[in-house]
């Protein structure tokens, strides 16, 4: 079995990417802001080292779901902002749909199991 990296416990495969895509499609952000946002929204579900975002971000850049552009941080410093591309948006929609389907399935199965 593959050893799970300690700093990256995924809820399900692709969860981190999904969260990144969802967050960034709400608002393009730079790395630090994204890390803070993820910590805020996931709280205890997702304990990540901030750095572990970066390999994921690179993967998504390579897949063409994200792109970068220069922008300003909350402190008015020039920073690289990550933005969701059209392809990324499509991917997000697909993934959300399949996640919803999965949850629906799980709910149904659990409901049936209780009867």
């Amino acid at each position: 079995m593959k050893k799970k990296r300690p700093e990256y416990r995924d809820l399900f495969p692709g969860a981190l990417e999904l969260m990144i895509l969802k967050s960034l499609s709400w608002r393009p952000m730079h790395g630090y802001a994204l890390a803070q946002r993820l910590t805020d929204i996931s709280e205890d579900y997702l304990q990540i080292e901030e750095g572990s975002l970066y390999p994921a971000l690179q993967r998504m850049l390579k897949a063409g779901w994200l792109e970068t552009e220069m922008g300003l941080s909350a402190r008015n410093r020039p920073v690289r902002i990550f933005k969701v591309t059209e392809a990324g948006r499509k991917h997000l929609e697909q993934e959300l749909a399949s996640v919803e389907k999965m949850f629906a399935g799980v709910t149904r199965v659990l409901a049936l199991a209780g009867q």
Partner: protein, 880 residues
């Protein structure tokens, strides 16, 4: 493509990544400082929260990379750096490898061309050769026309059967008469070989009928003689005074037989059914001179065909006991095997030898690498201390040896490219199809494969050894730890090299001594100052006037300045011409089919004097031995010994089966002379019985080859001879102008090239072995400097130190030699067919080889032993 783009944009990606991470940390630090943390603490916390910065950056970068390829590239880069760091070492390795791989590639390209390539015909795997043979003796023989016709009509295993034999004809009606080589074939040539004419049609069954004269011509002949004129079809050309109609042109590259690349034309066996002959060849069951190729029906195996043909030959022997008793069996083998004959053994021996050379070379390099591993222990230990896995180190070291292998391979290809033409010149015509060898894809593929393979062979042991490095002790001892197991390894490599070197040198020694014996053999005549050449007197002009022409011609020839004597002979020694014929001894009659055979040739007067064959008894032929005189013959010593043991052969009468137009068949001939034996082929193992008949008593037989004993350089007579012949008839091209020494040398081409190649390889192997031994001893001395220093400091004699080193070398040598001798004795029998007059286990050769290997081995160990003895104990002890 985007891969390329990715490579270029990657640098920018990496920069952006680092920037992003830096920005991230700065923001975080700023946030933390806003909360009142000191800058120092804020930075520390930010980094801790971020995680392992280097690792994360590396992993993020890795997204953009092709991980395996990149790390291999890194290995290669590192390997190149390592090579640059040790240019001398790398150069030595590359040179050794280039020699090994170059030799292998050269030999392989020849083996590929000769043995591996299919014959250039359609479905070559279905082509077989069918030979006649005698059941008891397994000696194969050529086939007679009537037998061939019966086979063709009755055999069920074949789609087609094709008979052929060589012919040479003079093309006249052109500016300069031209001697052309060709082939007389049965009509099925095109369907059997599956190669259609590029122009025109193939033969049909009607073309075999008596009186038909049609030919197919070669593409080369079409090009040179007819400038590729397409209207050549239907045109008539004159060959040997007879008109032939061109019905087709074979495609360029068509060669049949494959061993006769110069054939210009193919005609049908109609030429052999000439009604003007007393008994045309096509109806003469006792003249065996055809080669037969069969195309097996699909699904028929060679064994099945062999069985059918054996049964068929046996039934023909019952039907025609007079002629076929000695041809009561047959023999089918694949056509490729028959083309190759004995040469495949020879080539495999050479290939084996050259493989051993490469193996020895790999051994040397492995030892060099093992020595270097010692020097690199610290580096390797450092790498594994920094977290390199064992597999990673093995891969790194293997990358280095593969790179060396590749560079050696490239250098080897260059070497092969240069040496192949030289080797081909050496081989000449002695190996069929060898001339096709050259730089091509299979050869380059082979070189690449061998390079990588040898890279692994010489790299794997050092790499595994190195990766087993014990970290702690190596680093603690500063990399100077002694690991005796590696000495053991290096020593066994050297022992193996010595053993292989012995095997090769013994093989070469056997071939050399066999060759020396061949050249020193008594041919039975004196071969220097002899010029030979030939021209044909075509039946169309000379059918009745041949004897007169010859008489005039030899008179004029003998009168040329520089000519001591001259004669004509049908089957000259050292040419491949040979005829055997049965004879009858009225004193000891045997049933007709069981008559004994002997070599037969017919000669002019003065033949024995010209070749200086000793006249042992009786007389030579004279001009008086003509058709009107009593019929006579001369025999050689071997003939007299075998058929007249303890008797006087002179005056005995025999009836050789040579018809000469006299009524009542072949005449009874009186033996008037006994001459010394002559060797007919350069590699003939024994002197066979032979009969000589006077040409004056065989007026219808054609033709004589001229042989001239000269008092000057034989070749200097060539112009005078050509002038003489053309002055007598300008339509007689003279061909095959050669000295007897050249003919002899051609005969020995195959044993010579085997000897030279194997000798070269053995020399190379011995050199590499000695270098290897020297390397091991020198290295062991340098590693034991301290130990030797201590010994000397404690009072050891310098001579004792020397003896110690020499003793070590002697142990390696003796073990290697013992193994090598055992292996040679076990394997030498593969050389049996290529050896003449030498036993494969010749003790003389074995002894000489062992002594010379021992001596050179000691020489190689002597230098390190001197160095060991001259170690200064003080310096040695201080140096570490």
């Amino acid at each position: 493509m985007c891969l390329l783009k990715q490579l270029f944009t990657r640098r920018r990606r990496y920069d952006e990544l680092s920037e992003s991470i830096r920005e991230h940390l700065e923001e975080k630090v700023a946030d933390l400082m806003d909360q009142g943390v000191t800058r120092e603490d804020a930075e520390r916390t930010a980094r801790r929260k971020f995680g392992n910065l280097t690792q994360i950056e590396e992993r993020s970068r890795a997204i953009w990379q092709w991980p395996t390829l990149e790390s291999i590239l890194a290995d290669v880069k590192y390997a190149i750096r390592q090579m640059r760091k040790a240019p001398g070492f790398s150069a030595v390795v590359v040179i050794i490898l280039a020699l090994g791989i170059g030799a292998n590639t050269t030999v392989f390209s020849i083996v590929d061309a000769v043995m591996l390539r299919p014959l250039p015909f359609a479905q070559p795997q279905r082509l077989v050769e069918v030979k006649g043979s005698e059941e008891q003796h397994f000696e194969s023989s050529d086939v007679s026309y009537p037998d061939f016709f019966d086979w063709r009509a009755r055999a069920r295993s074949f789609e087609h059967l094709l008979s052929y034999h060589d012919i040479a004809e003079t093309l006249t009606g052109v500016n300069r008469p031209l001697r052309l080589d060709g082939e007389v074939v049965s009509w099925e040539m095109v369907p059997t070989l599956g190669i259609s004419p590029a122009l025109g049609r193939g033969f049909s069954a009607e073309d075999e009928k008596r009186g038909s004269r049609v030919i197919l011509i070669s593409h080369a002949f079409w090009k040179t003689q007819f400038s590729e004129d397409r209207s050549v079809l239907g045109r008539s050309i004159s060959l040997g005074g007879n008109p032939y109609t061109i019905i087709g042109v074979m495609p360029a590259g068509f060669r049949f037989p494959v061993t006769q690349p110069n054939n210009s034309f193919w005609t049908t066996l109609a030429v052999d059914s000439d009604a003007t002959d007393i008994r045309p060849l096509t109806v003469n069951r006792s003249v065996h001179f055809l080669t037969v190729i069969g195309k097996l029906k699909p699904g028929v195996t060679i064994t099945q065909a062999d069985q059918e043909m054996k049964a068929l030959a046996a039934s023909l022997a019952k039907q025609y006991p007079d002629t076929n008793t000695r041809h009561n069996s047959a023999w089918v083998q694949s056509e490729l095997a028959s083309v190759l004959g004995d040469t495949s053994t020879l080539l495999l021996v050479v290939l084996g030898a050259v493989t051993l050379v490469l193996l020895i070379a790999c051994g040397n390099i492995a030892n060099l690498l093992l020595a270097r591993v010692h020097e690199r222990y610290r580096e390797i230990a450092m790498r594994s201390a920094l977290g390199a896995a064992r597999s990673r180190i093995v891969r790194q070291l293997l990358a280095e040896s593969l790179l060396l292998g590749l560079i050696g391979g490239i250098a080897g290809c260059v070497l092969a490219f240069i040496s192949t033409p030289a080797v081909l010149r050496l081989i000449g015509d002695s190996v069929p199809r060898a001339a096709d060898a050259g730089v091509d894809l299979p050869m380059l593929g082979f070189a690449l494969g061998v390079s990588l393979l040898s890279g692994v062979v010489f790299g794997i042991v050092p790499a595994l050894t190195a990766s087993k490095t014990d970290l702690v002790s190596t680093l603690k001892e500063g990399g100077y730890s002694d690991t005796p197991s590696h000495d053991w390894l290096r020593s066994s490599v050297v022992v193996g090299q010595i053993a292989l070197g012995i095997v090769l040198t013994v093989g070469a020694g056997l071939l050399i001594s066999s060759f020396v014996r061949l050249t020193r053999l008594d041919e039975g005549f004196i071969s220097d100052h002899l010029l030979t050449f030939t021209f044909e007197l075509p039946d169309s002009t000379y059918k009745d006037t041949r004897p007169q022409f010859y008489q005039q011609y030899f008179e004029k020839l003998r009168a040329l300045p520089g000519v001591q004597s001259a004669a004509g002979v049908h089957n000259l020694p050292m040419t491949d011409d040979l005829a055997m014929i049965g004879f009858e001894n009225p004193e000891h009659p045997v049933p007709k089919g069981r008559q004994p055979n002997a070599d037969l040739t017919f000669i002019s007067t003065d033949y024995f004097r010209t070749l200086q064959v000793p006249q042992l008894r009786g007389r030579d032929f004279t001009d008086a031995d003509n058709m009107q005189a009593p019929q006579v013959m001369i025999i050689n010593e071997a003939f007299a010994k075998r058929y007249f043991p303890g008797e006087d052969a002179l005056g005995k009468k025999l009836r050789p089966g040579a018809t000469n137009g006299m009524p009542g068949g072949p005449p009874l001939r009186e033996i008037v002379g006994v001459v010394g034996n002559t060797r007919h082929f350069g590699t003939q193992r024994e002197m066979p019985p032979a009969m000589y008949l006077p040409v004056g008593q065989l007026p219808n037989w054609c033709c004589l080859r001229s042989v001239v004993r000269t008092s000057v350089d034989p070749m200097s007579l060539e112009p005078a001879v050509l002038k003489l012949v053309s002055s007598m008839d300008s339509n007689l091209p003279v061909t095959q102008v050669r000295t007897m020494d050249d003919l002899f040398s051609l005969q020995l081409a195959q044993p010579r090239f085997a000897m030279i190649l194997l000798g070269t390889f053995a020399g190379l192997a011995l050199l590499l072995t000695v270098i290897g031994l020297y390397g091991v001893m020198a290295y062991s001395v340098s590693r034991r400097t301290r130990e030797i220093g201590v010994r000397l400091a404690l009072g050891a004699q310098r001579s004792a130190v020397m003896r110690m080193v020499l003793h070590d070398a002697a142990v390696l040598l003796l073990i290697g030699i013992a193994i090598g001798v055992a292996a040679s004795v076990a394997s030498a029998s593969v050389l049996k067919t290529t050896l003449y007059g030498v036993d494969p286990h010749d003790p003389f050769v074995l002894t000489v080889v062992c002594i010379s290997v021992t001596l050179t081995g000691f020489l190689a160990a002597y230098i390190p032993s001197i160095r060991a003895a001259s170690i200064d104990p003080m310096k040695a002890l201080r140096s570490e």
